[in-house]
């Protein structure tokens, strides 16, 4: 189907089913039960799953295939968001032009930065992309371009927001009741949510989520096509031995640059979608922690595998959500069965990792994954699968999908 072989078609269909049924699958606990805090089936979080899934899929095209470790990909996501919000401000609240512009702007910035940074590889490349991202963060955070041209472009620390005075040529500046219009797709409101009560369960079907989900499936499909194409093969060759590529007389720069631009466009798309769901853009989306997060998503899921980045993005966003919600009182409640002194101690230890300590957990997770599971969850799954079925096949497959960086 769609030019995919049988295995890839199955994978695509499974992912599609999982994504479309997510409102059910992510809500396994009744709404009033104590376990309800582990539910993830509400629109905001599900949107984040798929948007960061797109971001990670794009990053994987660069890192997973070519082995070039970019540390500044959040910058493209950031410019995508800004571009989309500007489109909402100037043109219309329809998301299509915003997303198209976000993708184009993401790609343009990637072309510019890639042209310079791809002159070096390995560590140099990582450092340079990090430096560029920090530079763009500084520019956005203090609105340097805006100060230069005279009007605000990024609106500095506050972030870019919609106002009632925006022109919106093809739309309306304000709705009849005097509020800012909502983002929509030809009239379908992104925020409209259909709620379904089934017994004690509450399922929410959000239009914005399904829109993002469809976009993600298209992005995923494109990434499968890229992985299986001669171009993808060339990128893998760059990863496995760049020197040999050079000796055979191939100039690898156009290939790596194309991969960089594609992944920049994916990041721009993710940024545009993020702004479409919630029309604001801030500089903090471009910070190095955000770039580190997408690296972690890709590594955690399994760099160079098709499904890995999506898994990684879902995993991290889910646990971020759960961990940040837990506070000291919840912990005391959980560990109340322990003797008093022990309870205090356990809570004291656990407290480091929850709430605002989520970043600590993230850092530790990062280290553990890199140290013990370089192939990510996919490799872990294959290893466990191999243990049970004792087939050599799984082992060989994990070797074939292993990531080696460009030297």
């Amino acid at each position: 189907m769609f030019g995919l072989d049988k295995k890839d078609t199955t994978l695509l269909i499974i992912v599609a089913l999982l994504v479309f049924l997510a409102p059910f699958l992510l809500n396994p606990f009744p709404a009033d039960s104590a376990m309800a805090q582990f539910n993830a089936g509400y629109p905001d979080l599900m949107q984040r799953f798929v948007i960061f899934g797109i971001f990670a899929i794009g990053f994987n095209i660069l890192f997973g295939l070519t082995g070039y470790l970019s540390f500044g990909h959040a910058a493209f996501l950031g410019v995508g968001s800004y571009a989309a919000v500007w489109m909402f401000k100037l043109l219309t609240m329809n998301v299509i032009p915003a997303i198209v512009l976000a993708v184009i702007v993401g790609g343009l910035f990637a072309a510019l930065i890639g042209y310079i940074t791809l002159r070096r590889s390995g560590i140099y490349f990582s450092i340079l992309t990090l430096a560029f991202a920090q530079m763009m963060f500084a520019i956005a955070y203090s609105d340097l371009i805006g100060r230069f041209v005279g009007t605000s472009i990024t609106n500095g620390e506050t972030g870019l927001q919609l106002t009632l005075n925006d022109p919106r040529i093809l739309g309306e500046s304000a709705t009849p009741d005097g509020s800012i219009p909502l983002t929509n797709l030809f009239g379908w409101d992104m925020r409209s949510t259909y709620q379904m009560d089934v017994g004690a369960w509450l399922f929410q079907f959000n239009f914005g989520y399904y829109f993002c989900a469809v976009v993600m499936l298209i992005a995923f499909f494109l990434s499968i096509r890229i992985f299986r194409s001669p171009f993808g093969l060339m990128l893998r060759a760059v990863k496995s031995n760049q020197q040999r590529m050079n000796y055979t007389g191939l100039n690898i720069r156009p290939y790596t640059l194309t991969a960089f631009i594609i992944s920049g466009m994916y990041a721009g798309l993710a940024g545009g979608l993020m702004a479409s769901m919630d029309p604001l853009a801030g500089a903090e989306r471009m910070q190095w922690t955000a770039s580190g997060e997408v690296v972690l998503m890709t590594i955690l899921g399994g760099a160079g595998t098709l499904i890995g980045p999506v898994l990684g993005a879902g995993f991290i966003k889910y646990f971020e959500n759960i961990f940040s919600k837990i506070n000291e009182a919840t912990l005391h409640q959980w560990f109340s069965f322990l003797p008093d002194g022990l309870e205090t101690f356990v809570v004291w230890v656990a407290e480091h990792f929850v709430g605002s300590g989520w970043h600590l957990t993230l850092g530790i997770l990062f280290m553990l994954v890199v140290i013990f599971l370089p192939g990510g969850l996919v490799e872990g799954g294959q290893k466990i699968g191999g243990l049970f079925s004792r087939r050599k096949q799984a082992d060989e497959k994990s070797k074939a999908t292993k990531t080696e960086p460009a030297e």
């Binding site: 470790l69 340097l144 970043h359 850092g363």
Partner: protein, 343 residues
Amino acid sequence: MDAIILQILNGLDKGSAYALIALGLTLIFGTLGVVNFAHGALFMIGAFCAVTVQRLLTLSYETVDPTRTDFLGNPMKVKTPYIESWFGPEVGASIIEWSVPLAILFAIPVMLLIGYAMERGLIKHFYKRPHADQILVTFGLAIVLQELIKHYYGANPIQTPAPDAFRGSFDFGQLLGFDPNVIIYPYWRLVYFGFAAIIIAAVFSFLQFTTFGMVVRAGMADRETVGLLGIDIDKRFTIMFGLAAAVAGLAGVMYAPINAPNYHMGMDFLVLSFVVVVVGGMGSLPGAVLAGFLLGILESFASMNEVKTILPGIDQIIIYLVAIVVLLTRPRGLMGRKGVMEE
């Protein structure tokens, strides 16, 4: 003329910090071949060593002073630091005042130990792994260290003042024959620059004039051959890692009075220090120091009001712009050697 001298002086202290961090980064990269993304965190931990010493010295007990009352009419509680009760009020107060210089003594063993533990516990296992893994694991470590500091010291900057003796400013202009109060420069920044110069000189002479340094330099040039000669080069490289950590830590301790330490100062400096290393030339120690001072001074020139009115905000991106230009024209950096990081 006076403005130019003033900007050069202003650039020196930031340049010193860049140079010290870049020196440590280059030392680690040159010896172990690892890019240490956690090096900024070491700088930050150094600064928090100063905070820790200040807090330890000001540990106090409360006593009730019956002669005075607070605004509610209750007897006033007076806090007395233990130090003051042990050494007498005057000596105690001056010890507290000198907490930042004293923190150096505290920071050296702490940073050596942290560096040693980092190398033996974590980085050792990553020599044979790809560079991407090394970057990622040290990046993860940087996040962990940063978050731990944030957890225990809070997210706000903590003031750590310099001793009173260094709090004033030095009228540099008068020395050179300008009018008074044209070129004034805080004493502590002068101290910082001198301190950085001493450390840089010490590191270079350690590598140049001691047998240990000679072996390390030989190991940097050809690790395998040195190993074949029966020298335990790994052990020496571990010590060099500890040394690099100590250099970063000391840079942090002394920087605490200039810029109140906060948990993310490390990463801010790290990114710029990487740029410094790239501009100076990967693997070149003199290049790192030179580029550090050059970029520090350049940054302070870019933050002059005259420049800012023409190009607003240039001070925040000038270093990156320079890095781009250098990289496009001299990909190896200012003093980079052939064969180092040439894919």
